[in-house]
């Protein structure tokens, strides 16, 4: 470790996106009181600016990748990929939120600030090359999202969601932290590459049982964040209770970041004991898919249905992790992008449709949407078909790459079961389409306002992105493939 603790300019540049986000966030918080109540949404645009700034900073950071701050951070292509992803998620969320906040009379700066902080935290997560940084990033992101989940203070569902998320979240994080402590104890370092070095080195290698234990504890924490079985229990309640745009954010942003660190930790630090953790993830993946899909079959609340579906999708991603291969990692990256778009799109429709106080969140409420608002229905159908995994949508290629990787790794049974799962999944997504198109319009669609510009933009944006990913996936995939190479 160099004795000069002053970070170099390059290192600052590499960390610039997070810095920007934090600054902008703080600024918003500070100046909020000065902004007139009717103009709060202006802060939203400030936040958007911040995100754009962060994005451009990320592009700058791409030019000279490398470690930062005594290699506590590793700003490589992998990190930047996920940075851009979470930033993009942030942008979509904020744009989709304007109408919602106005509708709920809850416009305020902190909402935007919290999103920025959360994204900053995720930025730290994905760049972290060291378990403590990882923990801190995780906490920054989580704490912010705890608050977001309970954003509408006076809404029972909101703060129940917040409470559950908070308690269980910190509960799981404690396990993770304990795991960190143990691996520190076992190897004397928390730096991922160092850990790997120690574990591979014969004479330094500690008791495998010790390593396994800490790996298990860390797995608990991460699996919880990505809502993988058996730690998925919180997700449905939280996604259902939280404000629709926040649910969208949670299911895309933190999850992506969590998967990123999942990959980093298990593909880097615990790579030497891969043969040990692979079967665990195998089982977990299968369980996750089954729980998510089958439990979703009976859901009538759209938000809850999407929650279960997001569990199921986490399951597919776990399959990719179980492959423990580079193309598997690439598949994860691609999938998270595709998933972010289609899922945020779907949630955006819910945001728009649910109306004041989220009264209409039942699948049957969508009856006849195909007649009342053809465009909305059509776009939602695109997202749903993508979630099913119909070709020419991003979702399809996501699954395709995952299962291709799985077969490459000879996980034949996992592949077959996974694909059958996706066939089951088709049923509940189709039900929504059925309701929208095959049922006659009911009273629930009578007072439906036209789409607000924000939501409209998000819908079209995500829809186009979904289709592009479905027709020309190389755009993202090549990037992912190159970045995935840098994991180890």
């Amino acid at each position: 470790m160099s004795d000069n603790f002053m970070p170099s300019a390059v290192e600052i540049m590499r960390f610039m996106p997070e810095i920007i986000l934090i600054l902008v966030g703080t600024i918003i918080m500070v100046f909020e009181p000065l902004v007139d109540v009717k103009r709060k949404s202006a802060l939203g645009f400030v936040a958007l600016l911040g995100l754009v700034g962060a994005a451009s900073a990320t592009f700058r950071a791409m030019d000279n990748p490398g470690p930062a701050f005594q290699a506590m951070l590793m700003v490589d292509g992998f990190a930047n990929f996920f940075r851009l992803l979470v930033i993009g998620v942030g942008i979509l969320t904020i744009v989709a939120s304007f109408a919602y906040l106005k509708r709920e009379h809850a416009e305020s700066g902190e909402y935007f600030a919290l999103i920025l902080f959360s994204i900053a935290g995720q930025g730290v997560m994905v760049t972290a090359n060291e378990l403590i940084m990882l923990f801190i990033g995780l906490e920054i992101s989580s704490i912010a999202s705890y608050v977001l989940a309970g954003y509408l203070r006076d809404d029972k569902r909101n703060n129940e969601a917040a409470l559950k998320y908070f308690l269980l979240g910190s509960f799981a994080t404690a396990f993770l932290l304990y795991g960190v402590a143990w691996i520190y104890g076992a190897t004397g370092t928390t730096n991922l590459t160092e850990i790997r070095r120690v574990l591979t080195n014969r004479d330094l290698a500690p008791a495998i049982g010790l390593v396994g234990t800490s790996a298990a504890l860390i797995f608990v924490g991460l699996a919880f964040k990505v809502s993988a079985a058996p730690f998925q229990v919180w997700a449905p309640d939280v996604y259902q209770g939280a404000p629709a745009p926040v649910s969208a954010f949670l299911s895309a942003g933190p999850k992506a970041a969590a998967f990123a660190i999942f990959l980093r930790v298990f593909f880097t630090a615990f790579e030497p004991i891969a043969d040990k953790w692979q079967p665990v993830i195998w089982v977990s993946a299968l369980a996750t898919m089954i729980i998510g899909n089958f439990a979703a079959l009976l859901q009538t609340n759209i938000k809850r249905l999407l929650a279960y579906s997001s569990i199921a999708h986490a399951g597919y991603v776990m399959v990719a992790i179980a492959t423990h291969s580079q193309i598997g990692a690439a598949a994860v990256m691609f999938y998270m992008v595709a998933y972010a778009f289609m899922n945020i799109g779907a949630f955006a429709v819910v945001t728009h449709f649910s109306r004041q106080g989220e009264r209409y969140v039942d699948t049957d409420d969508l009856a006849g949407l195909g007649v009342r608002q053809p465009v909305t229905a059509a776009l939602l159908s695109i997202f749903l078909l993508s979630l099913i995994g119909v070709p020419l949508t991003g979702g399809f290629f996501g699954k395709f790459y995952i299962f291709k990787a799985a077969l490459d790794a000879n996980l034949v049974w996992l592949t077959v079961l996974g694909l059958l799962n996706s066939a089951v999944a088709a049923y509940y997504y189709l039900r929504i389409i059925v309701v929208m198109y095959f049922r006659e319009p009911g009273e629930s669609t009578v007072d439906l306002q036209p789409l607000s510009p924000g939501v409209l933009a998000v819908l079209w944006g995500s829809a186009v992105a979904t289709l592009i990913l479905g027709i020309y996936p190389s755009i993202v995939l090549d990037f992912a493939g190159k970045s995935a190479a840098l994991v180890k």
Binding site: V371, L385, V390, P391, L392, F396, F400, F403, K404, L407, D408, V412, T415, V416, L419, L420, S422, A423, A426, Y427, L430, R431, I433, V434, Y437, F438, Y472, P473, S474, L477, D478, G481
Partner: protein, 520 residues
Amino acid sequence: MNLLNLVLVLPLAGFLLTMILPKNNASLIRLFSLVLSLAIFVLSLGLTSPFFQSGNGNWFVTDVPWIQSPEIRYHVGVDGLSIWLVILSTLLTPISILVSWKHIDKRVKEFHAFMLLLEFGLIGVFVAWDLFLFYVFWEVCLVPMYFLIGVWGHERRIYAAVKFFLYTMAGSVLMLAAMIYLYNKANTFDYTNLVDLIQRGRLSFTGLEQMLLFLAFFLAFAIKVPLFPLHTWLPDAHVEAPTAGSIMLAAVMLKMGTYSIVRFCLPLFPQAARECAPWIVILALIGIVYGALVALVQPNMKKLVAYSSVSHLGFVILGTFSFNQAGLDGAVYQMLNHGISTGALFMLVGFMYERTHTLEIKDYGGVSTPAPWLSTVFLITTLASIGLPTLNNFIGEFLVLQGSAYVSITWTAIAALGVILSACYMLWLYQRAFMGETNEHLKGHMHDINPRELAAAIPLLILMVWMGTYTKTFLPSISAANARILEQSKAGIEMKVDAQNNKTARLNQSAPTGDQPNVR
């Protein structure tokens, strides 16, 4: 941009254009889609030209990379096998649109958009030379048909639509798995490459491997065909679908399955195909007799025709798995025949439904008195579908049965029972619906076939006679393509003739490509 690409792209373009047409101007939409689909048909006729010079080979090939990793190519082309199916699709789309002219009055825009999208998918399935591309088109067909049934169908449409979708989905995911597996092994999705690799022994599978892959593919196709006992989605889908839907479904979509079996299962997994052949044939034979018997007792016209399809397509499978020229030619010819005659039947039933809003046979009777021409057309179609000589089905059935006779006369005998039964159920239907005293409540609205409907029917009638009498137009190109496929699937066998258990060996000899009739 060769002709084929044009034919393939136009429907898609039409789909998008229709989407942006003003939704309130129904007649404009109808006219647009009709004219467009007719234009496509005319263009597609151009595709046949090379096959009259030399029946053989792939034509109008385009092969450009689409996705780098995994290497997926936009590789399309037509050969003697696919060309006629393409024509079938392009022909029946305008006909279906014409048929729906009055019948479809709600959400006209979406309807026609989906019809064109469906056409796009169908053509794509038949011309794709890249497995992945093929899969994409395969799934693309699923969506519009799902909507056609679900939105414009009858009472139990939702159940039928979902059942249809899930049935197919369940099959195709396994196919996807098999495809990916194949890719990981061969490192290409390109059909021609794959066949080539297998030919030259560069790509070979263990017995189990091949068997599983074959089954994964075959299951997906068998569901589409549908092969007994995977057929139960068909009656529901047909009964609930709107006329146009039934026509496209019966005439073209079912052929996706049979076509794909011939195209992929035989050359790619020759040995497994032969090992499974006896079992598959048994299912086909059951299907033939079973479908006919169940059709016999259907009270609902569409259901009757649907079950008759199960029976008819049994012949196609039988012919395919006879592994000889005659059988295979018959199978392919029968695909076209079934497309035309059954398509026509659904169309006519649709006409009757439009007049009376019932599909129950008992609600009809004596139709021929008020509607002589309608019943004449129906009669001719009936005769075609029961395989009367000089009409199309006869040729197909004859060749299929002849082909199976080379393998086992017992198969032929059982299958021939289906021919007897087909006469039973169709003529009984005709008698109950058209002969006798005119049913009271038909009086008044059971008017005769009108010019528009006639215009839709005539082409099919002409084809029935044409294909029944002058097979020279179609058969040579089909034979050529089939000969090649047989060659490929044989070459595969020779390669691992050692690994062959005697059962398949016997099958292999006693099913020659025909060249020596085996005088015992």
